[in-house]
Amino acid sequence: MGANMIAAFADPFDVLFNLQRALDGRLMSDWLDDQTTGQGPFPPTNVFQQGDDILAIIELPGIEKNNLQIQAKENTIRIAGKKTITYPDGASVHRRERTFGEFNRTLSLPVQFDPDQIKAEYRDGILALHLPRAQQDKARTIKIS
């Protein structure tokens, strides 16, 4: 798996530092190879390999689950939705940094996955998409006769 594998270190500070370095090492890597289509780069997405399968971790704080749509087909996955922010009547706003609005993003991965086996989990403002690799896309061991 190479030097990028995130290993378990005894020191939690080393864990984070090494994790940050590993993530930087793959920043905008050519793995997706310009296959990211759809409108806009929101939400920010990280893609990992977990054994045979793919795991996409997407930062989406403060979204209502029913404002989030996920669709999958062969090797593409579409994430669309709306983020709203409300302020009470008569509030005077001191600082406004959080973003809101609509998003629609399609990721095409260089991997075939099984659309029926995809699992989506939204917790603590993070959307995790488990994309199991399709049987026909898995590596096979070839016996030498």
Binding site: L16, Q20, F42, P61, I85, V93
Partner: protein, 138 residues
Amino acid sequence: MASTQEMASTQELQVQKKREVESKEESTIPARVFVPATDIYETENDLTVILEMPGVEKNNVDIRVEDGVLSVAGQLDLTKYRGLHPLYTEYNIGHYARSFRLSSKIDQSKIAAEMKDGVLSLKLPKLEQAKPRTIKVQ
């Protein structure tokens, strides 16, 4: 929370670049810490502070008010990344920290905090003496 001024709109969402904490002192550990995107608004009775800290569980949030400074820290659970091999990344991760000097007097015993979907909402009630008063002209 009353929701009259809804900020829905049809504008397209843009990615916000994560800002790193810049402190005067250098930290002894090399890992980066990020600044949560924050909204602050004031109503007659309270000051509300809303911070986005995706990936932080509610038990890993530390909130304190000392000498008129509100400090919030959120720790990320790194064990979730164990055994993952990054292929393509667009953002980095790390713990969160931010502090604010409070302009109004706050009743520290009545601060309420709620964490939902990676968003921390803090309601800081103003002290009686800090509330606006209507002055009648005689």
